[in-house]
């Protein structure tokens, strides 16, 4: 029964969101059925549809897990967006500075010279550690502020999002951009910092599709979060703090420690988005790359019931919509791909307002019982 409820409510919310979205499409003057056919149907072709959908799901799995871990500790991490920006830049920074790349135009004196030129076997892990570490620090700050001063993590993470964006844009613009480059992006990282695209291993999947090893890492991260939360003492303490802080404290758990720990783990998971983006896709830091991954992660976690399996499925669903949005843009008269954001927004509000469905359903159950 519990499992049924865990699946039933998100399902109802998804259907309701699609119905409301369909009405919006209808009002605008397009066919909802055709729009949804494009939106959902475009994801299942091989290799492009599936390849791109899984690629788009990768960052959402990471941010969904990040939000879920914090949720389990009773915290809302709205800061995944900032954490993944800092992390992506950190990964690119290591890929440049330790990859033997001089930032500058060929011939001219370099703006920025590297520290070392490390081999691939060291450089790739180092970049990954940089991403996770930077994310963990950026997530740990609001944790620390909450634990030490009691200031609310929601406001602090929002503020840190803006600070992260400004900070990273400063470093890109003033120190790591190739002079004269009109695009706000860093220099390219060393080729020794690249991680392989899955096209290398899977026959029939061309390497132009940016689906890369980070997707495998995302699956491993789901397993990691499951083991962490339900099979270790740390996870038990995090969940206990989330369920009932005073009882947890009475039981000898340091709530402050759990808050900092959960936020740092959350930030680290969000930071893994940087691995997908920088090491597996663009091979450089690209300013403003995130398509609200951090915020969509909240919806992913919510719809996935803060469970790794649910997060994985929800991320795939959202990736299908994001992929389909491109085709909606191209093949419908009036509806643009922005309808995906509208659907996401409706979905978040509906999932949050679960009580709306619970009330009628309870009545329904009562009626049934009365009849028996």
């Amino acid at each position: 029964m519990k499992l049924l409820r865990e699946i039933l409510f998100p399902l109802i919310a998804v259907i309701a969101a699609f119905v409301i979205g369909g009405i919006v499409v209808l009002i605008i003057g397009d066919s909802p059925i055709q729009t949804y056919k494009l939106l959902i149907g475009s994801a299942f072709s091989w290799p492009d549809g599936i390849g791109y959908t899984l690629f788009l799901a990768t960052p959402l799995i990471f941010t969904g897990l990040a939000v879920a871990v914090a949720f389990r500790c009773g915290l809302l991490n709205i800061g995944a967006e900032g954490q993944l920006y800092i992390a992506a830049f950190a990964a690119a920074w290591v890929g440049i500075k330790f990859g033997g790349i001089s930032v500058g135009l060929p011939g001219a004196p370099p703006v920025n010279t590297p520290y070392a030129s490390l081999p691939m076997l060291i450089l790739v892990p180092l970049c990954c550690i940089a991403a996770v570490g930077a994310g963990a620090i950026w997530g740990g700050i609001p944790g620390l502020l909450k634990a030490r001063f009691g200031s609310h993590e929601v406001i602090n993470t929002i503020m840190l999002n803006f600070i992260a964006v400004a900070l990273v844009s400063y470093f890109t613009q003033y120190h790591y951009k190739v002079p004269g480059d009109a695009i706000m992006q860093s220099a390219e990282i060393s080729s020794k910092a690249h991680i392989a695209r899955l096209g290398k291993f899977i026959p029939g999947l061309p390497e132009r599709i940016p689906l890369n090893l980070a997707f495998i890492l995302a699956i491993l991260a789901c397993v990691f979060v499951y083991v962490l939360l339900w099979k270790t003492k740390w996870g038990y303490e995090i969940r206990a703090t989330g369920q009932n802080p005073s009882a947890a404290e009475y039981g000898g758990i340091s709530i402050r420690k759990q808050i900092i720990l959960a936020m740092a783990i959350s930030g680290g998971l969000a930071g893994m988005v940087g691995i997908n983006e920088v090491l597996g896709y663009r091979y450089r830091y690209y300013d403003g790359f995130s398509a609200d991954y951090g915020f969509v992660g909240i919806a992913v976690a919510l719809l996935g019931r803060n469970h790794p399996v649910g997060v994985f499925l929800a991320a795939i669903l959202f990736a299908i919509l994001l992929r389909g949005g491109i085709f909606v843009d191209a093949f419908t008269m009036k509806v643009s791909k922005d309808i995906v954001q509208v659907l996401l927004g409706i979905l978040i509000v509906l999932v949050a307002s679960e009580a709306m469905f619970r009330g009628p359903l309870k009545k329904f159950a009562l009626i049934k019982r009365a009849k028996v």
Binding site: I155, I163, V296, D338, I339, V342
Partner: protein, 323 residues
């Protein structure tokens, strides 16, 4: 540095602070009643888009402004239903609304104007007037002759004046009227308010709806006051800055407005300093660091380094009536 601090900087501060003040005071009504309003950004976007599109069709800024208020209220009703009636998580709901309104204006502008996210340019005559233009329009015959000489003082938007009035009225309502007392009571101690016969949820509903109306006006100011069209994501985080100002102002109307002025000043300074101000080493001061100021200040204030800022006690907790 001297040429920086001119009268134009003062006016640019006023202009930039106006939407912040309206949104922040809106947020104040909601948050003092105990409902967190992260959705100020989305509410402003709703207001901005509605104002621009309606003004384009109706060729009247007052109809546009009224429509923006209606739009803000409509979205606020959704928030209130979710957060108060269905006891949804307030932060999550607000985030959902924000994401929704990144997309919805773009979808609608695509359908209405076949553009990707912006409305057509609105002719100058149909924008919200400045105080000067307003006076000129309502009494062209008896236009006081001292006005043109003091033109610089009347060259701010009428909405800026309205924002100022809103602050003063709010200060009065909050501390001097029964409604204000109820609003504060519901946000601090809903059980006691309920026991005293106040309908907690009704007051909260009103609080959220007021925040929608004011944030809607703030949005309208952006699209048909400061600018002459709606562009994609034109609030650019102002809803969050308003939220920061609300916290910095300790959820009090006058202090909140002052915080908005401070953040508006930081914004104005950013614009003026571009390429003008230099570090002692002769380099430009990177704008990113000035942009960060409001956010850093908020974190520092929240941590209690500059006086304590205490949120309404019952904020974020849906009220469960005892049976």
């Amino acid at each position: 540095m001297r040429q920086l601090f001119t009268i134009s900087l003062l006016f640019s501060t006023l202009r930039l602070a106006t939407p912040l003040v309206l949104a922040a005071i809106g947020g104040l009504y909601s948050e003092r009643s105990g409902v967190i309003n992260i959705a100020l950004e989305g509410l402003m976007l709703a207001g901005a888009f509605t104002a621009a599109s309606v003004t384009f069709y109706a060729s009247s800024p007052s109809i546009g402004l009224a429509a923006a208020i209606v739009a803000g209220v409509a979205v606020a009703v959704i928030i209130a239903l979710a957060c108060i009636r269905f006891k949804a998580d307030q932060v999550v709901t607000g985030t959902g609304i924000n994401i929704m309104f990144l997309g919805l204006p773009a979808v609608l502008s695509g359908a209405l104007f076949l553009s990707s996210g912006s409305t057509p340019q609105i002719p100058k005559d149909y924008l919200l007037p400045t105080i000067y233009q307003f006076l000129e329009r309502i009494r062209p015959a008896a236009f006081p002759d001292w006005i043109p000489r003091w033109r610089i003082l009347t060259d701010v938007s009428l909405i800026t004046l309205i924002a100022l009035l809103v602050v003063l009225i709010t200060a009065y309502v909050l501390y001097r009227t029964p409604f204000g007392l109820r609003l504060r009571a519901v946000g601090e101690n809903p059980e006691a308010a309920d026991a005293a016969g106040v309908s907690v949820n009704k007051i909260r509903f009103i609080g959220v709806i007021l925040s929608g109306a004011l944030a809607g006006i703030g949005g309208a100011y952006l699209s048909i006051g400061q600018s002459s069209l709606f562009t994609r994501n034109m609030t650019a985080g102002r809803g969050f800055i308003a939220l920061a100002a609300l916290i910095f102002g300790k959820w009090r109307p006058v202090q909140t407005a002052l915080a908005c002025l401070l953040f508006g000043f930081a914004d104005a300074l950013t614009i003026q300093m571009q390429g003008v101000a230099k570090l002692p080493s002769g380099e430009d001061i990177p704008v990113q660091f000035i942009q960060m100021i409001p956010y850093v200040v908020t974190i520092v204030v929240l941590a209690g380094f500059i006086g304590q800022s205490r949120a309404p006690k019952a904020i974020g907790i849906p009220y469960e009536k005892e049976r």
